[in-house]
């Protein structure tokens, strides 16, 4: 089996893309879940503000999502640019 340098670099880039997106998905997934749990708690405490609380939850989740999107960008860069 002839494994050349360029082949090895490509293989490492593919592996890196998988690990980047895989590990990068853990944090936002857990964080957004906790945000939703706390939003439910807040709505339970104060049902009249349900609309406002849902909006706040979505804003918080969008911010938490950003690291997941960074991972996605890095993974796509590793796949298509490197």
């Amino acid at each position: 089996m002839a494994i050349e340098g360029a082949d090895l670099v490509k293989a490492a880039a593919y592996l890196g893309a998988g690990i980047a997106m895989g590990l990068g998905a853990i944090g936002p997934g857990v964080g957004e879940g906790i945000t939703a749990a706390k939003a439910c708690e807040a709505i339970g405490h104060n049902p009249n503000e349900a609309g406002l609380l849902t909006r706040t939850m979505l804003v918080g989740q969008a911010v938490a999502e950003s690291t997941g999107i960074y991972s996605l960008v890095i993974a796509l860069l590793l796949l298509f640019v490197v």
């Binding site: 089996m1 002839a2 494994i3 050349e4 082949d7 090895l8 490509k10 293989a11 490492a12 593919y14 592996l15 893309a17 998988g18 690990i19 997106m21 895989g22 590990l23 990068g24 998905a25 853990i26 944090g27 936002p28 997934g29 857990v30 964080g31 957004e32 879940g33 906790i34 945000t35 939703a36 749990a37 706390k38 939003a39 439910c40 708690e41 709505i43 339970g44 049902p47 349900a50 609380l53 849902t54 939850m57 979505l58 989740q61 999502e65 997941g68 999107i69 991972s71 996605l72 993974a75 796509l76 796949l79």
Partner: protein
């Protein structure tokens, strides 16, 4: 040292069996430990009904450890099946099989211990609701076994299918990746499903009259928390059944391995997060049943957003499989 394919396949079978039963037993032991710890707290709070708490714990444990019995069955098959004359690629299939079942049983084992513990604690708090608590515990534990069943399906496919037509070079990576994809993703779904079921037992103990909406919310929350495991199963099936052209280079093989790893790892976080979201909703449906519909809507929106990173991971996996 010269090793024949037969030796390598046997080594893979034995190490796969070890990984499988090892992770499976750890999962069952952690789950059992959580249940027993909560039961001890419960007994110390309400000593008079210690017999009932103990019986509930026993029944819960009998159902909760189904996942580790799946792992035992796969491990025994790996140890005692006859692989004489199998091609070298079977070694990768057997490693993947052991990894998949072991990791899947780990998540389900830990997850299904949580409703057991919360139900024991709930019985101490609200002995009148004992039957309802046991029911919710058993439904919750049974749903927690779903990711372990997905893992067992993939593990048995890897064990029994004939891969001699698959070329070794990218094939080994596809088969190990298939095992990792469902196995790792099942950790999140198993644990997440357990969080929801535990919260439902806590909620019923707090407010026994809310059992109807609590159980409905629990089932919906648990069902959504299984989605990452279903993504893992999908990628595993593609990796197992797609015909790959033979190659000399490493890159295509690494793309397939990485595809499995990506969806697997990416499923852990959303699975746990969906469990947290579902648990939060169930807990507050119990306290405020009038808001059940609103809370369910917020839970589903939150779970959908939390799911998005698992979908990114699956997209990267699909790109790795079909484009690279």
């Amino acid at each position: 040292m010269d090793m024949s394919p037969e030796t390598i396949v046997a080594m893979a079978a034995y190490s796969g069996a070890g990984i499988c039963i090892g992770f499976g037993a750890i999962g069952a032991a952690v789950g059992e430990g959580y249940t027993a710890a909560e039961a001890n707290v419960a007994v110390s709070r309400n000593t008079e009904i210690s017999g009932d708490i103990f019986k509930n714990m026993l029944v819960g444990q009998a159902v909760a450890e189904s996942a580790s019995i799946f792992a035992l069955v796969v491990a025994i098959l790996l140890l005692f099946m006859d692989f004489h004359g199998a091609p070298l690629i079977k070694a990768a299939a057997l490693t993947g099989s052991g990894l998949c079942m072991g990791l899947g049983a780990l998540g389900s084992g830990i997850g299904s211990g949580i409703p057991g513990g919360q139900a024991c604690f709930g019985i101490a708090r609200q002995p009148a609701a004992m039957n309802r608590l046991t029911t919710n515990m058993l439904i919750g534990s049974a749903v927690c076994q779903t990711p372990a069943i997905f893992s067992m399906v993939v593990a048995l496919l890897l064990l029994f299918l004939d891969f001699s037509a698959m070329p070794f070079q990218p094939g080994w990576a596809a088969l190990i990746g298939a095992g990792l994809s469902t196995g790792l993703a099942s950790i999140g779904s198993g644990y997440g499903g357990g969080t929801v079921a535990g919260a439902s037992c806590e909620g019923v103990a707090r407010q026994p009259l809310s059992v109807g909406p609590v159980t409905t919310t629990m089932l919906v929350g648990q069902a959504v928390a299984q989605t990452p495991a279903i993504f893992g199963l999908l990628i595993s099936f593609i990796l197992i059944f797609r015909t790959v052209p033979a190659t000399e280079s490493l890159a295509p093989a690494m793309a397939l391995f990485s595809a499995g790893l990506c969806t697997g790892l990416g499923g852990i976080g959303p699975g746990v997060g969906n469990g947290e979201a579902g648990g939060g909703a169930v807990r507050w449906v119990a306290r405020n049943s009038a808001m059940a519909a609103d809370l369910m809507r917020v839970m589903l929106v939150g779970q959908a957003v939390s799911q998005s990173t698992a979908i990114y991971a699956m997209v990267i996996s699909l790109v790795l499989i079909f484009v690279m």
